[in-house]
């Protein structure tokens, strides 16, 4: 698993860790039952604060991606297909919003967009 943090990013560090571990889980790089590095080890290896790492893990646990076994460590939870679908839906919505935004700037109508979408789908 790679975790690449950027200090220049607008996204806070804990969110960057959260997103990257989540993506590793969704894409299958991390599999169900895999043990995650301990909070302290990850923090020290990434040279970031323990508090920040803990916050990322807490959010991953809250959202059901990982679970903690007291005294042992954190593990990847069973993939919840509902959860992943929800995640994808959210992303689609986000892209549609972007399309809307751009369409408005180019004066495209609702119909124009639907036509474009149909054409692209036919190509596939």
């Amino acid at each position: 698993m790679d975790v690449i943090l950027s200090n220049m990013s607008e996204q806070p560090i804990y969110e960057q860790i959260y997103t990257q571990i989540k993506n590793s889980i969704i894409s299958g790089v991390l599999k169900e039952g895999d043990m995650l590095p301990s909070i302290r080890a990850l923090a020290k290896d990434l040279r970031i604060s323990v508090i920040t790492t803990k916050r990322a893990y807490d959010e991953l646990e809250r959202d059901g991606y990982i679970y903690t076994v007291a005294g042992k460590g954190c593990y990847v939870a069973k993939k919840n297909m509902e959860l992943i679908r929800e995640e994808h839906l959210k992303k689609i919505e986000e892209y549609i919003r972007k399309i809307q935004h751009l369409a408005k700037a180019c004066n495209l109508s609702h119909e124009d967009i639907i036509e474009m979408f149909s054409i692209i789908q036919e190509e596939e």
Partner: protein, 283 residues
């Protein structure tokens, strides 16, 4: 348990005052103590070690009040490095090792020689012929080799070159891999502290301005550059510091209190501290 707990600590000398310092370093964390020269960082550290008498307040180190008799035993678990390393001039690192072995109960010779090796310190060279960097490294090797739970360092990285500083920061980072280990280090090189600290405590004009999680500071504050007209419209509670030039204003703001139509600059800990210190001076 907290590694260090300071409550309402005050100390004054003629022309110098440290008022009502409240500070907590949780076990397992690294805290950076920032402030200008002569602001009281070293005084705070001396007060923690009970090396000077206080006017009022209390200090607990590793769970023990530092005025109590038990504190002598606790000192075994504290490694202190001051801004100048003092060892007798004629002693070599080898001699120093022997002295320390008979001083500290938990002295670890292997660990000490590992550090001498890692720091490339000659075992048989007299202390007086050491460079400042080498002296500092020797002091740090000694401080860590008696297996402390708490490391306290006063300006341990100042006057050293960036490569050595980075090497030393790595050691502190590794030291706290053990969750029972904590570090308090004072420095005016804020970028060093930004690299490794979990908490930042900022002393200014004899007061503790804040003691906060580092990432929270970086998340909450931002610098925005704007025109003077825009600045007039800013909600006053959002502005924490400003720098006015002929052509515009640089403002340190609380992100949460500002609408996100402004684009924020990449803000470092150093920026935040500079702006806060300036803002405080004008009040």
């Amino acid at each position: 348990m907290n590694a260090i707990e300071i409550n309402n600590l005050s100390k004054s000398y003629p022309g110098f005052e440290l008022r009502d310092i409240n500070l907590t370093l949780p076990t397992g964390a690294i805290m950076g103590l920032v402030g200008e020269n002569g602001v009281g960082k070293s005084t705070t550290i001396k007060l923690i070690m009970n090396a000077i008498s206080r006017d009022s307040g209390s200090v607990k180190v590793l769970g023990v009040d530092n005025l109590s008799g038990e504190f002598i035993a606790v000192k075994e678990d504290i490694g202190v490095v001051l801004d100048e390393a003092y060892f007798p001039e004629v002693l070599t690192p080898e001699n120093v090792g022997k002295v320390m072995k008979n001083t500290y109960r938990n002295w670890d010779d292997e660990c000490y020689y590992n550090f001498l090796n890692r720091f490339r310190l000659p075992e048989k060279k007299a202390f007086k012929d050491f460079s400042r960097g080498m002296k500092m490294k020797l002091a740090i090797a000694v401080a860590i080799s008696h297996k402390p739970k708490l490391l306290i360092l006063d300006e341990a990285t100042s006057g050293l070159d960036p490569i050595v500083r980075d090497e030393i920061l790595d050691i502190f980072n590794d030291f706290t891999r053990d969750e029972t280990h904590s570090v308090l280090l004072s420095s005016h090189i804020v970028s060093d502290l930004e690299k490794i600290c979990d908490y930042i405590a900022f002393i200014h004009n004899g007061k503790l301005l804040f003691c906060e999680e580092k990432d929270k500071l970086l998340e909450e504050y931002a610098i925005i550059k704007m025109s003077k007209d825009d600045f007039e419209k800013m909600p006053k509670e959002a502005v924490k510091g400003k720098k006015v030039s002929k052509y515009g204003v640089e403002v340190l703001v609380l992100k949460a209190a500002v609408s996100n139509t402004f684009s924020t600059e990449y803000t470092t800990l150093e920026d935040i501290i500079l702006f806060l210190a300036r803002g405080d001076m004008k009040q």
